[in-house]
């Protein structure tokens, strides 16, 4: 048990939907792996690609950006911008020959506690299969 790889995932959750969903999952006592370190942001569009990148390069095994479903943004269109930025970041990372599998964008509405549980569980499983982020051991980043 002691040696089993426990992924550390940084989660940027939007205040209005996904953070509320995380709360709901908690109060509903839904079980999920304790892998997500949550950073609450006011909107998924607040997440500058550089923030995702920094978490990734500092050694986070996965980075999750999650917000309201398209059309449901508290600020009407923030998540559309977030999606473009995320697509852009993925493209930059892939063009440089890096693996973008460790980055995920998910839409989780405020009432979707069970979906939050599912996303966290599945993403954690995926990262477990990918193993530790190789950036963690590099000394010259």
């Amino acid at each position: 048990m002691k040696d089993e790889f426990a992924p550390k995932i940084v989660g940027f959750l939007c205040n209005w939907c996904t953070y509320a969903a995380a709360d709901l999952a908690g109060t509903s006592k839904l079980k999920m792996p304790p892998s997500l370190a949550v950073i609450r942001v006011m909107c998924s569009s607040r997440v500058d690609p550089v923030l995702v990148l920094r978490a990734f390069l500092r050694g986070a095994d996965g980075v999750l950006v999650a917000g309201c479903h398209p059309g449901d943004c508290h600020y009407e269109k923030g998540n559309y911008y977030a999606r473009r930025r995320f697509a852009l970041l993925k493209s930059v990372i892939e063009t440089l020959g890096l693996d973008s599998e460790r980055l995920q964008l998910s839409w989780i509405g405020a009432s979707e506690g069970p979906r939050f549980q599912q996303v966290v569980t599945e993403f954690t499983d995926k990262i477990k299969k990918l193993g530790q982020n190789p950036m963690q051991k590099k000394t010259s980043l």
Partner: protein
């Protein structure tokens, strides 16, 4: 077909003649152009209002001491120029200025733009070593013969966008055998035509997109492929990135000269970018050692995500890099991929929105989980 003004003088003299005409007739009050600073081949952009100072103008000199687009943005950041000014800049500089105007960092108002079909520029190194004058005949010979000019910046040799998109007036240079004694000046806009009205010369019809231009574009495309293959950016991976950016000395010179990197208060130059002691402790516990300063890879990839979408490939970043990192090629490659994603070409049209400032409701579903 567009209107062409033919002048029976060398290209350099013709442009000088044109600038002189514009200034003398009062159609413009100022000229923004490259000017000789001394006899060692040092040139700098200058804003000139007196005819006397215009004598030292070298508008077509194959050097880019700073990106003209960035300079025009600095001139107009706090307000547009009050009176008409003609600016002679290269296509990528004009594109950079358009990108900056889109980002509210300058104003196009009162500018008349003259650009040329561009053979590229030499790295600054050649100029500071005082060797550029020896190169000039080679430069013009290659341009006449419709060949890629040797020893120019790698991004110039592989530049497909050497025809200016938004210039009012374009000087045809590429593949023009007679530029030693004849010059074709394309008047692309009504504004351009209005400004040259009254000048001595012959007016004819012509096509800028000549066979030579098409063939040069293909040559540059091949060169670009070769350049990308050489550096093998897509095969970088973590190892390649660390090897490439491990040489970075952290001067951030690339961002200082980059026309698109306009933020005055850059996050990576700020104190918030510096780690607190406990962060070093955590990192050292895990890694057993750490490069100082850290975060060179994150700085460069961060800049790629911020700037890549608007990168015009002027090549200044690689030019100023003291560690010889091929930054401009990496930016060109990543720029190409992100620009293609949004079918966006930086600086093509001032009305075209920067992709990260707009969206479609149905798109990129493939990046969602």
């Amino acid at each position: 077909m567009s209107k062409v003004l033919k002048i029976n003088k060398s290209a350099e003299e013709s442009v000088q003649e044109l600038l002189k005409f514009l200034l003398k007739s009062g159609k413009v009050k100022g000229v923004f152009t490259l000017r000789k600073i001394n006899d060692n081949g040092a040139v700098a952009y200058s804003l000139v209002t007196s005819l006397d100072m215009l004598k030292d103008a070298v508008p077509l000199f194959p050097l880019m001491p700073a990106n003209g687009g960035k300079l025009l943005s600095r001139l107009t950041l706090r307000g547009s120029v009050a009176e008409p000014v003609v600016a002679v800049v290269r296509p990528c500089e004009l594109r950079a200025f358009i990108e900056l105007v889109k980002r509210k960092q300058g104003s196009l108002e009162n500018f008349l733009f003259i650009s040329s079909t561009c053979s590229g520029v030499y790295p600054l190194e050649i100029s500071v070593n005082g060797n550029i004058d020896k190169k000039l005949s080679q430069y013009w010979d290659a341009t006449k013969r419709n060949e890629i000019v040797p020893d120019t910046r790698p991004t110039c040799k592989s530049c497909e966008h050497f025809l200016p998109y938004t210039a009012d007036i374009t000087i045809a240079l590429i593949g023009k055998k007679d530029i030693g004694n004849k010059c074709e000046i394309f008047l692309n806009t009504e504004k351009g035509q209005k400004f040259v009205d009254g000048i001595d010369g012959e007016f004819v019809e012509g096509k800028l997109e000549s066979e030579e231009v098409v063939s040069m574009r293909n040559k540059r495309k091949d060169e670009k492929k070769k350049l990308f293959d050489e550096i093998g950016i897509e095969k970088f991976g973590l190892k390649g990135l660390i090897e490439t950016f491990g040489k970075c000395i952290g001067c951030h010179g690339c961002s200082k000269v980059c026309p698109i990197c306009y933020c005055n208060l850059c996050y990576s130059d700020s104190q918030t970018y510096e780690h607190k002691p406990f962060v070093y402790e955590i990192e050292l516990k895990r890694r057993g050692g750490l490069r100082v300063p850290p975060d060179t890879v994150s700085y460069q990839i961060g800049r790629l995500t911020h700037v890549g979408i608007s990168c015009v490939g002027c090549g200044l970043c690689a030019d100023v890099c003291p560690a010889n990192i091929p930054i401009s090629t990496i930016f060109l490659k990543v720029g190409d991929s992100v620009q293609k994603m949004f079918d966006y070409l930086p600086g093509r049209d001032v009305e075209e929105q920067i992709p990260v400032t707009t969206f479609k409701t149905e798109e990129f579903v493939e990046v969602e989980d």
